[in-house]
């Protein structure tokens, strides 16, 4: 521990921090790459304003009810989660029958991928493509 002193060599009582403690150690950021993932073609994106396309490709859009303090967008009640038909889901997920206003589905038809766009999409899944 690196101790801080005043100019006369007295220890500073108001600084008790141990800057080298484990508390301040964190693993450096990283991403995980699937080495078996196929090389992608140049995307061709098609936009769909409703959920019908999801039925065709075997996906369901779920909503998960959020407490007031966990909402991040105006007029939000749910977070949105896109899952494959047979994928395991959380108990609190409820199937949605229509897309909220200003939300849409995107398909990259060259790479067989889908994602949902809009403010209510779970932030961790925002921008994430899923293969269909």
């Amino acid at each position: 521990m690196m101790q801080i002193f005043d100019i006369d060599g007295e220890k500073l009582n108001s600084i008790k921090i141990d800057f080298s403690s484990e508390e301040y150690h964190i693993e450096k950021p990283f991403i995980v790459n699937d080495i078996l993932k196929k090389k992608e073609k140049i995307p061709e994106i098609k936009v769909y304003p409703d959920l019908n396309i999801l039925k065709e490709i075997g996906f369901i859009l779920y909503g998960k009810e959020l407490d007031k303090e966990n909402r991040w967008a105006k007029r939000q009640k749910h977070s949105l989660h896109l899952r494959q038909l047979e994928a395991p889901i959380e108990k609190t997920f409820k199937k949605l029958i229509r897309l909220p206003t200003n939300h849409y589905i995107e398909l990259d038809i060259n790479n067989s991928k889908v994602r949902v766009h809009g403010d209510f999409v779970d932030l961790r899944e925002k921008g994430v493509w899923q293969e269909y």
């Binding site: 600084i15 693993e27 950021p29 990283f30 921008g127 994430v128």
Partner: protein, 434 residues
């Protein structure tokens, strides 16, 4: 004959176990945000320091991005960081780990980093109105500081202008210069007064009376403001560490040397005339001694709401920050600032000297035009800025960003729209703190 494991994998890659199939790729650059396409957008790690602005309306996520960036510079890059202007006591929460579960999940999901506090030490410049919020700082680290006496004597007129804006010491300054040696020895304000009484001319006659009055007034003003306090042992002008070797310097540099992050609490300075002078002293001191104090290391100075200390070109703090902006690369000192009022920031600090700008929603046409001209922004990008949601921003650069996606690392120089990565240190508006 049995086939070797390696050969088997070559003909049937499907047998790879998870450890072999999912490769961990370290992010060696400074992550900033997630683009709309799911790329991790980073400021490239380079040999030279950079300067960056974070611009946007209030409540859009500027300070949150600042908090995240500070953690990354400190924890992931190993750089020194000093927070130079906490006007609203917002950094009190930064010395805790992120508590919001949703923010934790998000950051872990994208860059595999969990919550972690920043090792902050709060610096309170002593004034005649300072109160330390003991309840908020019960388990935190802090100290009170004063400006060093010899520093003030060396440039008395500069500091007195911070207390009395129209003060001119003029030729009277020569009398102070002659007394410096004796004044340096003083340990109390009374001793300072005695030295001045004894040695300034005009003690008996009237010929130098106005000069004497001027100098006495000047010292009285400094003492009254208590930014200069040579008697209070709880207020520190200099600090030291003894190991691995003795290092004596201003409180900011000593805390950074000890691997902490100093945070200058300026909430008490809002209406003080000498605020600019005081910040200027610390910025100049860190900057001019950096190569000597931190050889081979990089240091970043982070200013929140820069306009509150830096609006006109001729202000002391503006000049000091402009120096960092213009010559930071030479001394290895980088600059990051957040502001709502990009158009009000002096030209000596922004413009071509900026390498990166992260702009949150803003409707002020003047601000958008200034950003547009500094970063060659097209009209469509300006329109996008107006329509950004909370925590969304557009990254602009005169150099390049580095993006990580699908195991690849590549450079991008165009504007990128995305969502900030939530801080790993806690983040609360002061009003929300318990």
């Amino acid at each position: 004959m049995a086939l070797g494991k390696t050969y088997t994998k070559e003909i049937n890659p499907g047998i790879l176990d998870d450890e072999e199939r999912f490769k961990k790729i370290p992010i060696t650059d400074i992550p900033i945000m997630i683009s709309d396409s799911g790329e991790i957008v980073c400021i490239p790690r380079e040999n030279e320091v950079f300067s960056a602005a974070i611009v946007g309306s209030s409540g859009m996520g500027k300070t949150m991005l600042g908090n995240f960036l500070v953690s990354q510079l400190y924890h992931s890059m190993g750089y020194n960081v000093a927070l130079m202007n906490d006007l609203s006591d917002e950094t009190y929460s930064w010395s805790d780990a992120m508590q919001n579960i949703r923010f934790q999940q998000y950051t872990r999901w994208w860059i595999n980093q969990g919550p972690c506090p920043s090792p902050l030490v709060y610096i309170f410049p002593n004034t005649n109105s300072i109160t330390i919020p003991d309840d908020k700082l019960k388990y935190k680290n802090y100290l009170k500081t004063v400006l060093p006496f010899n520093e003030i004597l060396d440039d008395l007129e500069f500091y007195l202008k911070g207390v009395l804006s129209d003060f001119e010491l003029g030729k009277s300054g020569n009398y102070i210069n002659d007394l410096k040696e004796e004044l340096f020895q003083c340990e109390t304000p009374e001793q300072v007064k005695e030295v001045l009484e004894e040695n300034l001319p005009g003690k008996e006659g009237k010929s130098f009376e106005s000069m004497r009055t001027k100098i006495f007034n000047a010292f009285n003003n400094l003492m009254r403001e208590e930014i200069l306090d040579i008697t209070n042992p709880e207020c520190h002008a200099l600090l030291k560490i003894k190991e691995p070797e003795e290092f004596i310097s201003n409180p900011f540099s000593v805390i950074m040397k000890a691997k902490g992050i100093p945070s200058l609490i300026t909430s008490d300075l809002i209406n003080k005339k000498y605020k600019s002078v005081l910040i200027s002293y610390y910025v100049k001191n860190i900057f001019k001694n950096h190569l000597k104090d931190f050889p081979g290391e990089k240091t970043f100075l982070y200013f929140d709401e820069l306009r509150t200390i830096c609006e006109k070109d001729d202000e002391p703090a503006s000049k000091a920050i402009a120096d960092v902006s213009a010559r930071g690369r030479i001394n290895n000192v980088g600059l990051i600032y957040a502001t709502q009022f990009y158009d009000k920031i002096p030209n000596s600090v922004k413009g071509a000297k900026l390498n990166y700008c992260f702009t949150f929603r803003h409707n002020n046409a003047k601000v958008l035009n200034e950003i547009g001209s500094d970063f060659d922004l097209e009209k469509t990008s300006k329109d996008k800025i107006k329509n950004l949601k909370t925590f969304e921003c557009i990254g602009l650069t005169n150099k390049t960003f580095v993006c990580y996606m699908d195991g690849e690392r590549y450079e991008v120089s165009k504007p990128i729209k995305g969502h900030i990565i939530y801080p790993i240190a806690n983040h609360m508006k002061p009003s929300a703190e318990k």
